[in-house]
Amino acid sequence: MIIRRTMKAALLGASLSALLVSAASAKTLVYCSEGSPEGFDSALYTAGTTFDASSKPVFNRLVEFVRGSTEVRPGLAESWTVSDDGLEYTFNLRKGVKFHSSASFTPTRDFNADDVIFSFARQLDKNHPWHSYTAGASWEYFNGMSMPDLVKEIVKVDDYTVKFVLTRPEAPMIANLAMDFASIQSKEYADKLAADGKMELMNQEPIGTGPFQFVGYQKDAVIRYQAFADHWAGKQPIDNLIFAITTDASVRLQKLKAGECHVAPFPAPADIADIKADANLTLMEQEGLNVGYMAYNTKMAPFDNPKVRKALNKAINKQAILDAVFQGAGQAAKNPIPPTMWSYNDAVEDDAFDLEAAKAMLEEAGVKDLKMKIWAMPVQRPYNPNARRMAEVIQADFAKIGVDVEIVSYEWGEYLKRSKETDRDGAVLLGWTGDNGDPDNFLAVLLGCDGVGGSNRAQWCHQPFEDLIQKAKVTSDKAERTKLYEEAQVVFKEQAPWATIAHSVVFMPMSSKVSGYVMDPLGGHWFDGVDIAE
């Protein structure tokens, strides 16, 4: 036993030394990631930190987001067609795509339809041998995007053609397939792990077709990858990619300055000026694909009256919130979707901050001595870095128009649960970060009638709005969908179920030696196409 362990260690040492020797002349990019991945089988998880370390470097999907955009381009599928009734999506798969290899696995065949079927069937079919392959396996993103209800079956037409049959037409289907949970696994690798009785390794030693192949993970410390020489889209400009896990934002910045890492995400807002002033660093910035809002409970009086909601919206000084809460790293929101998203209606006019007009509107609506609660989230999110502070600013604004606000808060899990209740007392501060870049992912999830009592915190079900978004959901023509969503935003603004507060601006500091990095509007961190000057 001991001899075997020693030999294994020696072999590993020898192969690692070889890697190190080559590393001396190789280009290595170090990314100071903000946390540890939960695992490497991305379909099991929902956290961006996990996706950055698993699905993005190691895997590919049938379709991929264009770098820096929410548009979708071919990935492992070269092309696809949609049937006229919108119920069948047929994908033509790319040929000659190689899977990675590792010390324990060498692929004997290229990627084909079996891998696609396997990757989805394990999530869809409760009786699939891989459905519960690890303790507590749950496919939350797959479930969260309603895929079990949506996908009727997945058919292998031939080795390089796969057909998804849906239960109803769903325009965002293609965008869904570009998401992390739709990463394509190797069925051959899965079969080998099952035969060896080591199924749990699927989540620990990933094998994909992506631009980087996994080399090793030292828990909570370092993840190592190597550029995959046989990647179907060509080899990467860098040779090695290292994630140095560094949870504290100040320490990440110090490491960046000391040259211990080249890219460090999520800087502390207070450090932005310092980073901008440093000639050795570059600071990229982009509006996040998110929205922070305050949802009234439109089922409870007097908030069931759009006039009252509109009046309160006019009393919120968004600039003060941007200064106090976002410290400049945000922009005022007027629509429920962010400006970087297609179909954003820029013609919509925001409610101007006007205390006198707000007061007059409240009087007109017959509301006097209004007392209300504002719920402040107990956690930080990009769309709301400090909910308590935000609630205090709104409280001060509302006091000026005679509205007495009590601020309440609960533990995060409780907050999410209680805020869903239809008889909830008070307006809730919350927000959303886009999953797939489709407007449906904001408008239907957060404001659709199906979401009442769930993710629709305003408990708002307004038929004219609902008709528009439902029609857009089953329309495959993008221009037509854009029109419908633009119209829906106008209805939203008139009805004011929310006070739209802000979209955050995401900053990305990096060494000036780094080139080719593109910020992802969906918040992911991608290193394909990135280079570093020696």
């Binding site: 030394s17 190190l20 303790a135 749950s138 030292q218 370092v222 190592r224 995060w412």
Partner: protein, 335 residues
């Protein structure tokens, strides 16, 4: 001696059972549950919520869950992490050497500097040196670890560039983790410069973690020494014409060390608590950081398993200290 040992071990059993109840109950007393946190803003349907609670076993009566937990413990099974899906014991054993390495270095620094500082302060009681040592100890004791760590990083790693910012070893070095102790593994790897790199990474976090125990040990040594220096036998030793260093080193220090040993033993708990913050600042992959993350995610099996392991270690170290104490001072064994 054996009776003393048995009585001490006998006491450990009910304490250990108490710890299982506290570690099991503590995380469940916190509002919120792992399934709600797993779903986040995205939300979860009531049916799916119930399904997941069933799957994780959280919908069963609490006493049944506790009983299963105890049965698992007796079989050496601490459960499986809800988040990483890995056995808790495996994760603990992977991360624990990093914490031990850091804590050992910290305690060595604390003892090596704390005891001499305490002796000097006691011998020069009331002098400027005494005041300086005790003043510094008080500052060290009251220093918030998080702030102190960042300050050292900015000064030594940022401005002076003497030490690396964080981590256990330079990313250039990559070798198998044979023992989990970076100092040993770096030596075993045979890679030139690896050991030096591991040492340089250990300096700042050890200093930060050693700060509070160092202050406590220095203060305890000083007060114990002062007490002993006033004893008759010390006066007799001086009267016999023994040199000052012999009196202090041979006669006074040996007796003064008894309460100091107890203090050092008690610092194990302080070190493990301090490791939580130190590891977070220095991106040190140990159990402190692991526990903090798991509490935030309500990863019940990890929190209860981790707490239990930490408590068991503190109890065992205290048992060893008790035994050592009994060996040094025979009067203790008989009481």
């Amino acid at each position: 001696m054996f009776r003393f040992l048995f009585s001490r071990i006998g006491l450990l059993i009910p304490t250990f059972l108490g710890v299982t109840i506290i570690s099991f109950g503590f995380i469940r007393l916190l509002p919120g549950d792992p399934v709600l946190l797993l779903a986040g803003e995205r939300g979860i349907s009531d049916e799916r919520y119930a399904e997941l609670m069933d799957q994780f076993g959280f919908s069963r009566p609490i006493w049944e869950q506790y009983f299963d937990y105890l049965v698992g413990l007796l079989n050496g099974d601490l459960g499986t992490s809800i988040v990483t899906k890995k056995p808790v014991l495996t994760e603990f054993m992977t991360l624990f050497p990093a914490t031990v390495e850091l804590a050992l270095c910290a305690i060595v620094i604390a003892v090596a500097l704390g005891i001499p500082a305490g002796i000097i302060a006691a011998v020069r009681r009331g002098s400027f040196t005494d005041q300086t040592i005790m003043g510094t100890a008080l500052v060290g004791y009251s220093m918030p670890i998080f702030w102190w760590g960042l300050l050292l990083i900015i000064l030594f790693s940022g401005i002076l560039q003497w030490t690396p910012v964080s981590g256990r070893i330079s990313l250039l070095y990559f070798f198998p983790q044979t023992t989990g102790f970076m100092l040993i593994d770096s030596l075993l790897s045979g890679q030139p410069g690896a050991f030096k790199s591991a040492v340089s990474h250990l300096i700042l976090p050890s200093i930060v973690l050693a700060t509070i125990p160092l202050a406590v040990i220095a203060r305890q040594t000083r007060s114990a020494m002062l007490e002993v220096l006033g004893e008759d036998y010390v006066r007799t030793a001086r009267a016999k014409g023994l040199s000052s260093s012999r009196v202090i080193g041979l006669h006074a220090l040996r007796n003064a060390l008894i309460p100091v040993i107890t203090t050092i033993g008690l610092q194990v708990g302080v070190l493990l608590a301090g490791a939580i913050l130190t590891e977070t600042i220095f991106s040190w992959p140990g159990i402190g950081k692991w526990m903090v993350d798991s509490i935030a995610r309500r990863d019940y099996p990890v929190v209860q398993g981790g707490l239990l392991m930490i408590a068991a270690i503190v109890m065992i170290v205290n048992l060893i200290v008790d035994v050592l104490y009994g060996l040094v001072n025979p009067r203790i064994r008989h009481t």
